[in-house]
Symmetry: C2
């Protein structure tokens, strides 16, 4: 895929904080740059005040590690910004750097994870693993945040409703939008409006029309061609404008609507779209007024399409009280289905898009509504409720010796030493505890009781007996190579 | 510059919502794709509940327009996602598209702007200007938001204090981070930690060390080399460890500090860094305890550097009450300066970085403090207070006829017609009103009273007399070409 070909263009090794280079230089100058070191990546609090997070961004991290190399141009730039005292041999050293000495153990992409559990362990030469910090955090933080946010929307929406991500225009620029599309899909969204995300990541794309399309039409004279051929049977083109006008009269009569309030431009827009895409007719019906114009125009065009053997798809509501309107719209669909004996009207879908937040999604489920697909933009991609995840990258071991940061804020002190992380399952196969212990300690055994100390609580240990224990992390990158199958998740 | 070479890699023409293509197809099918159309880009509310915004992202928009072209690969992908009914000739049409028929009038990059004023006017063939919508919004929305946020931090910080952007790790991925660095600089930040932003945009970069560097050291044995040559005079290397130990005793004595509480690893880290960069010594001093260890170690190393003729730069505080600590630190600097007659200690700088928000920046100014440079990350780049700007892109004219979207929410109705926008200045040269009128209306004249209708208020007109009137927008892109000098702002 296009984006995979040039990962360095997305996260070049200069995309990091300057202090990584000044520190790397100081390590190099002291001859410590090759010392084996271990960093851990984790977050301190579950996002959105919730009880979990999804881990995401691993794929991008692997591409980044695989291509981590400085060009001559990079090195020349560094020469211009590092202090003049920098030994020129250091730039030679940088020019030759890569991740061939780096090993990454990581939780798999999309795993449910919890605060303070080390999600990634990055081991390798001190100077190199230090240089990786900012880029790895940048690639994991937002990906995990937006993936978790998507999962919360999915939980609020329930399993049945389809969810469409449509936040590109409100994201932090092009790449923020792409990242959002990619990781909200992993988090439980079905569709995206972002075509580039479909192109790069194979996510199903969706969308039909905006209000500007509707308002660009003023009269039926703008509809061209004015005919459509029936799906089967008669090969002669049918005058679909006349056909639709006939249906519009019948619909108005059925619903007791005033023909005078119907917008001709809107009807022209719907007709023009339906002639272009007769099997994909799903207009936005609230450019003027759903009840007085949009819904009537939709029904008329959709009934004409049905008469010619096509299946209209549905409607989109983009403003106002989506629940109430969806119920009204469904009622009209049922009425048309019964009155005109058009069964296709029983399976029309209703798409709702109107500044949906996690909260309004949850409220949606409590009210009567007939919304089949919900489109979410701003609140999904910007994670309004908490727009950043505070992943950190902490040194836990150098030259085999545990390292610790002590802080007056106990939450900010780190847990030293290289660790193994196990997920303990109960007899029903449900995970109930993530256990971090030193890598040198023996792993937990099924059916054997063990004592552990809940992090962040007081010092009293608890005893647990796992029915099963699995390793939470896997070796995904070893000595410069992505482990087989790790880039296809 | 590297990023300028391949703008299409950053915002390729597929980076848009699918419905732009289905609409473009419907226009094309109806023979309307070449109709001259005009869209306006604006936002409805000033961000952060404030009274203004800065407009930004124009540079990226110009690069995008200039390179807007579909590749064969793009078109093949579109063929796979658009409905099968799509006429193959449409893909030929797409393949030949560019912005040679597009004209962009825009407010200049970095201008102070207000809600509901049309900031950009995009004119051109209906299908093309429709296709540009999402990308332009994506490029303007976050750039303007983060630029405005930076300006608010700058206003809160006052003109004197230096501001450092350091949000890369919390941004929406690599490009979100780069966009933040670029536009916070326009918004009033002096420095960035983001090296790639320095490389691409020439923004001054800054940074020295993180806690991991400090905690990676355990003893003075790790310091290597252990000598430093004085700036002038004696060419023999001096044993800087002994020198520093001597200063440390004197500092402890002066301050009545307990030598037993001093962290040897921290001292080793500071020394090692100072030996590498004796003219750029600015350590983070709160890895363990500022008062019991970090500040003492800093003073000892800095005094040793001074003795050898170097100028230490300062310290960074990264946790706790920055104001109180900065006052304590400054007091110690003054004490050292006086007691040891080392005037370099009078010009040491104090950098503060600890989850700074606009509010805490404003509070900082109300309290006594000695902070010279403030580093801001998360709250700056994620715009926590309001993580998205709601720029919209609305059709106002087709074929010379004004178009309008009507909504039950009056705020969402659009103001139809192609417009001119003037900024009216009073006799002192201060802007007091932005005036939007139809392009066909005559411009306001200096000293001549005119009636205007404040947007969003009731219908009563007000009379104003400008001392001067300037055009707020400029032609920046005409018929496929960026106007001269527009890419160097």
């Amino acid at each position: 895929q296009a984006a995979e070909r040039e990962p360095s263009a997305r996260a070049p090794p200069l995309l990091t904080d300057l202090y990584q280079f000044t520190m790397a230089y100081a390590y190099w100058r002291a001859g410590r740059h090759q010392e084996p070191a271990v960093f851990e990546l984790f977050f301190r609090d579950n996002p959105f005040g919730g009880g979990f997070s999804l881990f995401a961004g691993l794929h991008d991290c692997l591409l980044f590690l695989r291509s981590f190399r400085f060009t001559d141009e990079d090195v020349e730039f560094l020469r211009s910004v590092l202090p003049p005292a920098t030994d020129p041999a250091f730039f030679q050293f940088l020019r030759g750097l890569d991740c061939s000495g780096v090993t990454l153990r990581s939780v798999p992409e999309g795993t449910v994870v919890f605060a303070r559990v080390p999600l990634m362990e990055v081991a390798g030469p001190l100077a190199v693993v230090q240089l990786l910090e900012t880029s790895l955090l940048c690639l994991v933080n937002y990906a995990s945040l937006v993936c978790s946010n998507a999962a919360r929307f999915r939980l609020a929406a329930g399993p049945r409703r389809k969810l469409l991500e449509m936040g590109l225009r409100r994201a932090q620029g092009p790449d923020g939008g792409l990242t959002a599309s990619r990781y909200t899909h992993i988090g439980g969204f079905d569709l995206t409006s972002n075509v580039q995300a479909g192109f790069l990541f194979g996510i199903p794309v969706a969308g039909t029309m905006a209000h500007s399309y509707v308002t660009s039409f003023t009269s039926l004279e703008e509809v061209w061609p004015q005919t459509l051929v029936a799906v089967s049977g008669d090969p002669d083109p049918v005058d679909i404008i006349s056909l639709t006008k006939g249906w519009l009269s019948r619909v108005c009569e059925l619903l007791g609507a005033e023909p005078g309030k119907i917008r001709e431009g809107e009807l022209a827009a719907f007709l023009s779209y339906a002639i272009s895409y007769p099997q994909n007719f799903l207009p936005v019906i609230d450019s003027y007024s759903v009840g007085c114009s949009g819904l009537l125009n939709f029904c008329a065009v959709a009934l004409a399409l049905c008469e010619l053997g096509y299946r209209p798809v549905g409607v989109r509501l983009d403003s106002g009280d989506l629940c109430r309107q969806s119920v009204d719209v469904r009622r009209v669909f049922r009425l048309c289905s019964e009155h005109f004996s058009i069964s296709a009207f029983d399976s029309l879908i209703i798409v709702g898009t109107n500044n949906i937040s996690e909260q309004s999604m949850a409220e949606l489920n409590k009210k009567e509504n007939q919304i089949d697909v919900v489109g979410v933009g701003t609140h999904l991609v910007t994670c309004t409720k908490q727009p950043s995840l505070g992943c950190v990258y902490k040194l836990v071991e150098v030259r085999g010796r545990p390292r610790m940061k002590i802080s007056e804020d106990p939450q900010k002190s780190t847990v030293p030493g290289r660790k193994s992380v196990y997920r303990l399952l109960d007899a029903d196969g449900h995970p109930f505890l993530d256990l971090a212990c030193l890598a040198v300690e023996s792993p937990p055994e099924a059916g054997v009781s063990l004592r552990c100390f809940p992090l962040g609580c007081d010092d009293s240990p608890v005893s647990v007996t796992p029915a099963q224990a699995t390793c939470l992390r896997q070796d995904v990158f070893t000595k410069g190579q992505v482990r087989r199958d790790r880039l296809t998740t």
